[in-house]
């Protein structure tokens, strides 16, 4: 029983990180339809930011965190300006910005790879290590609550929803599409960055950390569905529990246990391709 409780906390904390990455995807997919796999690299950039400010320059955690998140907003905004907006304005098909963003992914990783030493770099814990999982859970809960409130209760959030439901109609209603897109990318980068920052004291900041996070987050998104904010969190938690419970309790060699979450993903795609939660009409 003690094992199970320990594992439940650990899986919840991992699930929160997956959920944040899934939310980052969702923020961009909803209004634009663009799947941005660079979210993993954005998480990595934030982790390196965390290393730089918190470990190397030893800034206080809240200040460092705020600066990193602000920087990520800027990164997201700039990526949209450079890799998405020119293509959309020229009427390129949806695949074009997706591929351009893959380019952003590679460039980001290479820049980090050549600017930092090759080894994983430490990022400090803001609280005692045994309480850190609760810190991750609390921070994630706050972010999700904030976004839920934003989309459900504010006019701004409603305009995002409107664009998601029907871009053309939203534009005809006078909603500024490019502003919504810019905000969704800035927000996506900030949320992905927060995910990276939260996971980095555990996994350290290293230049190959982005792709696994991007895959885990995407899996969580598919499980939860792109329709609603809560879906991302539920997807993340389900994925993390599936992963960790299988490794711990399934009577199969632990090498095979790695495949179970992906099986899970395939089953979900077949049985419920829209994910657990459906978008409201």
């Amino acid at each position: 029983m003690q094992d199970f409780l320990e594992l439940a906390v650990s899986a919840t904390a991992s699930g929160c990180v997956y959920g944040l990455v899934a939310l980052a995807y969702l923020l961009m997919i909803r209004p634009t339809g663009i799947i941005n796999f660079a979210v993993g690299e954005w998480a990595m950039v934030a982790a390196f930011g965390g290393h730089l400010l918190l470990s190397r320059y030893e800034w206080p955690y809240p200040v460092g965190m705020a600066v990193v998140i602000a920087f990520m907003l800027l990164v997201g905004w700039a990526s949209e300006r450079v890799a998405v907006r020119p293509l959309v304005e020229k009427g390129a098909p949806l695949l074009a910005p997706i591929l351009a963003l893959l380019g952003v992914l590679v460039i980001t990783r290479e820049v980090i790879s050549v600017s930092f030493p090759p080894d994983p770099l430490p990022v400090p814990f803001p609280v005692e290590i045994q309480y850190y999982k609760y810190f991750v859970i609390a921070a994630t809960a706050m972010v999700f609550a904030g976004f839920w409130f934003f989309f459900e209760k504010t006019l701004w959030g409603r305009t995002f929803e409107a664009v998601a439901l029907n871009r053309r109609a939203a534009a005809l209603m006078g909603i500024n599409l490019s502003r919504v897109t810019a905000f969704s990318f800035a927000g996506g980068a900030a949320v992905a960055g927060l995910g990276g920052l939260l996971v980095s004291p555990n996994v350290s900041a290293h230049y190959l950390m982005g792709v696994p996070l991007a895959i885990q987050g995407f899996t969580a998104l598919v499980i939860g569905g792109v329709g609603r904010v809560e879906g991302a969190l539920i997807g993340g938690l389900l994925l993390a529990f599936a992963e960790q419970l299988t490794i711990r309790y399934a009577p199969i060699p632990s090498g095979f246990a790695q495949a179970v979450p992906l099986l899970f993903l395939m089953i979900f795609l077949i049985v419920r391709p829209t994910g657990l939660l459906r978008a409201r009409a």
């Binding site: 594992l7 790879s113 080894d119 290590i129 045994q130 555990n202 996994v203 419970l245 711990r248 790695q258």
Partner: protein, 373 residues
């Protein structure tokens, strides 16, 4: 004006002809970058040192450094490029499969090639390439040395944990085979996937199996840190015996507070006189602290220089013959170890040359065991 240009070309041409070109194939952006980069720094430092002391056969060494990203498909093409540029030796410090691929070129072009650090056992056995040598400790030697140390502790049942990288799996299999051969029962056999965010479930399973010790075969630093973190969080006490990966000094910073009393295989004894001299010289020349990984590259370039000196020329066939007769003590290996290639073998690290060391106060500490006995 034309005359000046001509004279300049002639002068640089002569200067070029006078250097001895040595190719280095390293990895600047791929998976073995954490190993390749310090090793390459060791090569560069070693070449500078040799040049400062007058070079080899009165000529300076010129390094031509290429980056193969540890990718076998790129690697062979780069070896070809270096051969075309007239290198007399190729020094391979990226990943074993990439080094293997380069051999297809060096074997055909009859250009001497060596790796000072790759550990794959197959490099000198799969291809009968008389122009290739390996002076890094073999994977099997690492396993045997670690096991020899473990045997002295009389373990009956142990746990094994690794990651899902190629190398992690290969070392895990080697450990498993060696443990089973020694009649030690493996009560838990766990894998942590690359990119995992926790190793809690694996460590819980190991705790439930109640082993007397845990063998760590993983090579991914971030994932190994997850294992140590879970170990500490779960409050387990069994000793950890680690692969050679823990000899990478990055653990001193990234796993601070988690690594004390972990024992690991290494090819580096800080008390060895050659090591002390190397550490001091490196610090003086670069202002930076050296690691054991620098030693591999440093030994590599010195082994090549030594062979060319003994060959007395840059004729590749003569260098090949001289290299095969190597008898050289370098930075790596236990006290008094020499690199040799007896009986036509081309793997030159003494099977009894590795040591087991222990982490003390978050630093790589003393040697606790030597060799395979």
């Amino acid at each position: 004006m034309k005359k000046i240009i001509f004279a300049f070309l002639l002068a640089t041409g002569i200067a070029h002809a006078q250097t001895i070109k040595i190719g280095v194939i390293t990895d600047r952006v791929g998976v073995s970058k954490p190993y390749s980069e310090p090793a390459t720094e060791g090569v560069v430092f070693g070449a500078d040192e040799i040049n400062r002391k007058g070079g080899v056969l009165g000529r300076k060494i010129e390094l031509l450094i290429e980056d193969d990203q540890s990718r076998p498909d790129i690697s062979a093409a780069l070896a070809r490029k270096l051969v075309d540029q007239g290198v007399v030796f190729i020094l391979s410090v990226s990943l074993s499969p990439a080094t293997q691929q380069q051999q297809t070129v060096t074997m055909e072009a009859k250009v001497p090639q060596m790796t000072p650090m790759n550990s794959a056992d197959y490099l000198t056995t799969q291809l009968q390439n008389p122009y290739f040598w390996q002076t890094g400790p073999l994977g099997s030697t690492q396993g045997a040395t670690l096991l020899a140390h473990a045997k002295s502790k009389n373990f009956k049942k142990v746990a094994l944990i690794t990651d899902n990288s190629d190398l992690g799996q290969a070392i895990g299999k080697a450990f498993k085979g060696a443990l089973e051969k020694a009649g030690i029962e493996i009560v838990a056999d766990e894998v942590v996937a690359r990119g995992a965010t926790t190793a809690m479930p694996q460590m819980q399973k190991i705790r439930a199996a109640n082993p007397e010790a845990m063998f760590l075969a993983g090579v991914l630093t971030a994932e190994n840190v997850l294992i140590f973190r879970a170990y500490k969080e779960l409050g387990v006490k069994f000793p950890i015996h680690s692969s050679y990966n823990l000899s990478v000094p990055i653990y001193e910073t990234v796993a601070k507070g988690f690594i004390n009393s972990i024992t690991f295989v290494d090819a580096y004894d800080p008390d060895k006189p050659e090591v002390k001299a190397f550490v001091a010289a490196y610090k003086k020349a670069t202002g930076k602290d050296s690691q054991n990984l620098h030693g591999y590259g440093y030994d590599g370039i010195h082994l090549i220089a030594d062979a060319i000196r003994r060959a007395g020329s840059t004729d590749k066939e003569k260098i090949r013959e001289a290299m095969q007769k190597t008898d050289y003590a370098g930075v790596m290996g236990k006290k008094g170890m020499k690199y040799t290639f007896p009986e036509g073998k081309r793997a030159g690290f003494d099977p009894d040359g590795m040591v087991v060391r222990v982490y003390e106060k978050d630093k790589q500490g003393r040697v606790v065991h030597v060799g395979q006995k």
